[in-house]
Amino acid sequence: MKDKKEIVYVWEFPVRFTHWINVLCLLALSVTGLYIGNPYTLAQSSSQYIMGWMRFIHFVAAYAFLMSIIIRIYWFIFGNKYAGLSEWAPFSGKRIGEIADDLRCYLFCCKRTKAHIGHSALGGLSYLLLLAVFFFMVFSGFALYSVNHTGAVWTVLGGWMTNVMYLQTIRLWHHLLMYAIFAFTLIHIYLVLFTESIEETGIFNSIITGDKFIPEKDLE
């Protein structure tokens, strides 16, 4: 494994930017969301505005999160080949086969022989599923918000959902899927570290710098 390595610029600025905006937003949304969903008395007097601020931060972070998702989807189209939707969605049989390989690797059935330049097939699929969860969180969040914000914007962003599901059911899933995102985050960080230890491509730093170090034999 003492191959010569070449620097490849994989994650362009919008990919890194939206990644970290997502991290910040999810952190803010989770902390405030946990309080909103299950508040306890923090206020010393009625003149404080704790829940008010929690909700304000939650709503602002929600808008920022939505913008981040929009930028990332835009970058599906205009980004480099590692940012495209085909890196996430397993369209080809080859890609589906790679998912099986990735799974075997994670279950220690075989050893990963080739470093990934962009996403691994399984990793890409997990981000596609995560995007679906994000979409639900955005729609359900705005559905709850639309209860007292009646306007076309909020109807499109989520108000329509109140015609399909009970408000309380929407609230429940908005709450439950937060835990799914927690679980994803744990697995995500763990597998990045795991992958780094196998591939040694600098994947952990790559989300800051954008560069990965790919062994020459693995460059297509």
Binding site: P39, Q48, Q168, L172, M178, Y179
Partner: protein
Amino acid sequence: MNSKSDDPMHIAPELLESLEKKGVSRRDFIKWCTGMAALLALPSSFIPRIAEAVASQKPYLVWLEYQDCAGDTEALLRATKPTVSQIILDIFSVEYHETIMAPSGFAAEKSLEDVVKNQKGKYFAVVEGSIPLKDNGVYCCIGGKSAIDIVREVCGNAAATLAVGTCATHGGIPAAAPNPTGAVGVQEAVPGATVVNLPGCPLNVENLTATIVHYLTLGRLPQTDRLGRPLFAYGKRIHDNCERRGHFDAGQYVQKWGDEGHRQGWCLYEMGCKGPETFHNCPTVKYNEGTSWPVQAGHGCIGCSEPHFWDSMSPFYGRLPNVPGFGVEKTADKIGAGLAAATAAGLAIHAVGRAVSSGKKDKE
């Protein structure tokens, strides 16, 4: 009655005198008209118009009752301000109401038939209780006819139908899962009829009176939301008009019944109050002569004026619904924490597995 002066607030003295003769004091009547104008969010110039409209018309009204607990009838009979119920009984010709009418048997049914035949398109129908549709509506029959057959005929020929209480508007408690009788509200049972929904468990009679006053004064039914509920009564969210809202925003919550916060009158959100998802004018109109309403009395809202509240708003004392399939004791947070713990455990096992397998490889 047409002797109007230039004063927009002028109410014809003859009108007031004739009411005095019936035992309704001038003062009470004007107070009542003012209250109605306020409830409907009409300017004070409408007070004389309301007075004239109410005193000059006597529409026919039939009150039909199906699958329910007669709670809305109870609410009507206990209408606040005794003089008002007097006025109402006077402005209306109540031709049919099973609980309070004098005739019985064939005579009672005949009075209903007469109204439908003779006052076609002119009378009001008030429906209380849900209508069962399952098995040809056999689960609720009156005088040998099923509820759905009566409702189709009576509501189909009425000027307007006022569905009172959540049972009549959306099926209510009889329609709660598994809805054994296939109960539905009037709008669903008679899609062609003109229906105004006045949900609540029970409805607030002030809203029923105001809806009728609106019709008599302006000649049309009040504007409604997408659930057919008048906006004057159901246009605002309980949470937004709640007197405890300050405590919600501040961050002061009741955590347990009878705790310090409960005694201080803090927000009931943590105790499962459904005010944030319920639209009704309870906080402003209140009940029993404007004495109180559930939240003021220290109990959270249960969302009784929202469709299917029995299923969708329960548990009434919990913030979130129970997670289906996990048993009633499990809450979302417990499951979420469990999932996170399972993930962490899975990762730990993986890490150990990895250490073991790489150790093996090193030996090779």
